[in-house]
Amino acid sequence: MAAQPLMRIENLVKHFHVRLGAFGERAATVHALDDVNFDILEGETLSLVGESGCGKSTTGFTLLNLHRATEGKVIYQGKNIVELDERAMRPYRRQLQIVFQDPYSTLNPRMTIGEAVGEPILFHKLATKAELKDRISTLLADVGLPPRFASRYPHELSGGQRQRVAIARALACQPKFIVCDEAISALDVSVQAQIINLLLDLQQKYGLTYLFIAHDLAVVRHISDRVGVMYLGRLAELATREELFEHPLHPYTKALLSAVPEADPAHERSRKRQILQGDVPSPLNPPAGCRFHTRCPIAMDVCGKVVPEWREARPGHMVACHAVTEGLPG
């Protein structure tokens, strides 16, 4: 891929300090994100997958500087944006948008759809008051809603329509980059397909770059250029969609893929799943070495001691696994 990196994430770390016990007498650290490295290429859809608590949403929040990074850099347009304060961040905020899972809790119930979509336009001075109405109509048309919706309130809309409004609101800022944080997870299947199509259309029309955070691998496989797999705060594997789904290298990726159901009864009845034993360990006290070693079917001695290096196993295919590294020539 010849595309330029739009954003470069280097050694990103996010720890949350929490207090435990009935009276908060014990201090502890949640290792939400540890030493995460990847690029996001201009115009691509990069998806992050993994199970709850693996740090995929934290990654999205941290690289938009919505969570303060504990360590590391996020380089965007030559600037490390995670060290900027709120004022210095403001011009970047316009270009970097986010769409959340539940549009009902992100839209103000007392604001009409028109006001909600118009607010960021006025804030960033992207249109005059006179132009505003037209601009809102254009945005609503972009997301497939008729202009009359501008005078409605969020409670009058269905879930799919509200998600369209949330997308229109993100688009209002004329962004370059949108984090879709489980943006379609709460929708019904038939509506989900509508929103996926919409996101793909808008990407083509406006040259958008998406970081798509999701747990539905069938959807991820459908829309992504590249896919990153996270486990317990670290990236386990990152590759193009074809590479990752056809030639997964990391044992966790393999287990994850084998759990995805296919809409084919004969195949489903005969398939042998690779069932992972046990649960994901607590991020309060993650295992030493490779974080997956406690559940890994091919764990070796070294896996419990040394953190596997994040390295390129095949062209453009990054993985962090001792077993894969050992199997490689050289």
Binding site: G160, V189, V191, E262, R269, I275
Partner: protein
């Protein structure tokens, strides 16, 4: 590995009906008067059969099951129809009779174990409760059986876990406890209402496999309610597709996937991304949204969104009619029924 399908004969549609729901109608009290949510639904489950009930939010799939056990929330009530379980109408039972059925012969697993489990009661006590109530076991017997049940659903260190509280377990473990409670009294019928929706995909696969194993071992009937067709493809014998409170298609699982006949079923299947899709190919989607209760269209409830709708579809409600030789595949659609007559 032996396939579950090879060792387990698929129960035929003609087998004895364990659950038989006829013309069940459920209404909700609104400011503008009563509105129909479930509209004269017919469905049945054979002995040893696993039925998948598929539909989107608000189609009435959960309410139908809750109504049978008279567990409906306030303002929602059954106005018509009957629900026969093992030959007796559940709607006509007295409360004390019904209590014997709930959790006894019919086990339930709900979506969210955190709200269904009692947070201040130990796991072991919650498991023992139905055993003492329904099966008249002593405390000691019930505790022993509770340990066995936890082992059955694959909880490591089962006996030590009996004294744990729900919050000490992970989501997947809590769901296993729910399943153990559902199975405690060896029910003839297990009703699982979206039991894996809140879980991660690897845990989801574990739970589906677990229920499949237990069903084969214990020979019970299962009703699995879900919105995810792919998830139950390898688990169920038959699928009922619900739309706006009616069954629009009823078919053996293979027939449903290979020959979906209702335009809504076709739309649902087409909107699932496939392995073979090109990246960014447009997914086929169903335009519009399901009707709200109280705003049901006059004819077929799917007609306003249906790409094949004709004049008659907006006028009359189609009934569920058999297509194919043995009538095991039924569909409620004028267009599909006519297509078959012509063929």
């Amino acid at each position: 590995m032996m396939m579950a399908n090879d060792i387990r004969p698929v129960p035929s549609a003609a087998s004895e009906r364990l659950l038989d729901v006829k013309g069940l109608t459920i209404e909700i009290e609104t400011r503008n008067g009563p509105a129909t949510i479930v509209d004269g639904i017919d469905l049945h489950v054979g002995k040893g059969e696993t039925l998948g009930i598929v539909g989107e939010s608000g189609c009435g799939k959960s309410l139908t099951m809750l109504s049978m056990m008279r567990l409906l929330p306030n303002k929602i009530r059954v106005t018509k129809g009957e629900a026969n379980f093992a030959g007796r109408d559940l709607q006509k039972m007295s409360n004390s009779e019904l209590r014997k059925v709930r959790g006894g012969d019919v086990g339930f697993i709900f979506q969210d174990p955190m709200t269904s489990l009692n947070p201040v009661m130990r796991i072991g006590q919650q498991l023992a409760e139905p055993l003492i109530y329904h099966r008249g076991m002593s405390k000691a017997e019930a505790r022993k059986r509770a340990g066995e049940l936890l082992k059955l659903v694959g909880i490591p260190g089962a006996e030590d876990r009996l004294d744990a509280y729900p919050h000490e377990l992970s989501g997947g473990m809590r769901q296993r406890v729910m399943i153990a409670i559902g199975l405690a009294c060896n029910p003839q019928l297990l009703i699982a209402d979206e039991p894996t929706t809140a879980l991660d995909v690897t845990i989801q696969a574990q739970i589906v496999d677990l229920v499949k194993d237990l069903r084969d071992k214990l020979g019970m009937s299962v009703v699995w309610i879900t919105h995810d067709l792919a998830l139950i493809a390898g688990l169920v014998d038959r699928i009922n597709v619900l739309y706006a409170g009616t069954v629009v298609e009823d078919a053996p699982v293979d027939a449903l996937f290979s020959n979906p006949s209702h335009p809504y079923t076709q739309g649902l299947l087409a909107s699932i991304p496939k392995l073979s899709d090109e990246r960014s190919a447009r997914l086929s989607s169903i335009g519009g949204t399901p009707p709200e209760p109280g705003r049901r269209p006059k004819g077929c409830p799917f007609a306003p969104r249906c790409p094949l709708a004709e004049a008659v579809c907006h006028e009359r409600v189609p009934s569920l009619e058999g297509i194919g030789q043995n009538g095991a595949h039924r569909v409620a659609c004028f267009v599909a029924q006519r297509k078959l007559e012509a063929a």
